[in-house]
Amino acid sequence: MGLTVESRECIETPEGGVVEELVVNIGPSHPSTHGVCRVIAHLDGEIVTRAEPVIGYLHRGIEKMAENRTYLQVVPLTDRLDYVGSMYANWAYCRAVERLAGIRVPERAEYLRVVVCELQRIASHMMSIGSAAADSGAATMFIYAFDQRERIIELFEALCGARLTYNYVRPGGVSFDLPDGWTETALDFCRTHREALNEMDRLYFGNVITRGRLKGVGVLSADDAVAWGASGPVARGSGVNWDLRKHDTYSVYPRFDFDVPTGSNGDCYDRTRVRLYECYESCRIVEQALAQMEPGPIRTSGMPRLLAPRPGDAYDHIESARGSLGVYLVSDGSVRPYRMKVRSPAFCNLALLPMLAEGHMLSDLVVILGSLDPVFGEVDR
């Protein structure tokens, strides 16, 4: 089911006239919802008066399933949360387990985690920019962005054998060390990726049609971004300078020199462009991390097969491509988590849709949804 008219209803305007309110159902399976999301749009002519996202089509009960698996068996489940950026959920979960069980991670493993997660950020942003561009009619950009993403997926495939659900970051380390020649390929990618980013910036963000389509659409103020719990590029596009890699920093991020790009207008243009600039910064981090990395173990020695952390709860979060991704874990001392809760940035950012879409055209609704970059595996969990 794509786009269907749900109802037509006559409503009286304050001026005394009568207009017809059209309720249009978009989705749950529609290309511009980027997954299985249904949006119920109330229209006055072509203007959206109310847009309500309906979610839950991808709810697999991952948090409940985690209660029936051992700590290590949960890692593959976290892959299925944000399937565009699986490494993040792996890492956030593993950090929570490590905090709960008091596991120290070898330095090389921390560097490897940073390298794969920054590459993952580029891959995820390429997906986001490409599909958001396709939503606004720029199909060329989609191909350019996916070409870049494919090269990262190939790097991941060489590293751990999987293209989408990596299961790479494990409690206590990572699953594989870098294969021969991987570093050179990754550095070569960073070099050529910058040129591709320059071209994309000129081709898409410099385009007069794109500017007309994205500028001033779905404006989110910095205060609203904070009040609605927005994070990641959505909050930074509005000028909220909150990046967990800089503030509340973790892992080996303090050792790298990088900037956090922020926007100023909080519109779709700024949100999408912040993602593009983050790709430059990710390239910088990858290059620094690969240069600083020393040989050493990639897993903590003496890790038991069955982890049974002491009773208690722990929360840890990382900066994913969509924002602050956190995992809250409760242990009762057994080999299975008592409770796992994922703080999903896509879920929090999606809550902004009704507010941002109100008063805009129906065609802008699609662009606004694209600029929020929700991944429904993570929204529904």
Binding site: I55, G56, R99, D224, G229, S324, A351, D380
Partner: protein
């Protein structure tokens, strides 16, 4: 970063009797469920400046439902957890007029833990269909595919 326990205690003392302690989670303030909204309002308005509700979640502790509010202060770069306990047939009072970001997580928590949501503009189900049992209760078993098929 961890906030100062005494500062939190004094900020909360005006509205409620709070138990503030440090744990593996961080600094946790336990408040009575009826005063959770007032406590959050006080924390947001005070000089502590907890402007963001990062997350809201519920846990079935075996005796009650424990609701956790995760707050964030940007000015002080601090995180605080406010916890309260509700009985199994309890009512979760919405705090959306304090923190707008509570709107969706509250619906999710009420639905998955079997609580009644009050004071919410749209207390409908969010993730599951009607008549689904509260999945995150410990009393609701996890069924395998075979068990569901042969049911």
């Amino acid at each position: 970063m961890l906030p100062d326990e005494t500062v939190i205690r004094s900020a909360l003392s005006r509205v409620t009797q709070a138990e503030v302690s440090a744990s593996t989670l961080g600094v946790v303030a336990r408040v009575p469920a009826a005063e959770a909204a007032a406590a959050l309002e006080a924390l947001k308005a005070s000089e502590l400046d907890f402007v963001m509700l990062v997350d809201l979640l519920g846990t079935d502790t075996g005796e009650a439902i424990e609701v956790t509010y995760h707050l964030r202060s940007f000015a002080r770069d601090e995180d605080l957890y406010v916890k309260c306990e509700l009985p199994y047939d309890g009512v979760l009072h919405s705090v959306w007029n304090v923190y707008a970001s509570a709107l969706l997580p509250e619906r999710e928590t009420a639905e998955l833990l079997g609580l009644t949501l009050a004071g919410h503009p749209n207390p409908a189900r969010l993730l599951t269909i009607d008549d689904t049992p509260p999945l995150l209760r410990r009393s609701v078993p996890i069924r395998t595919t075979e068990e569901v098929r042969d049911r």
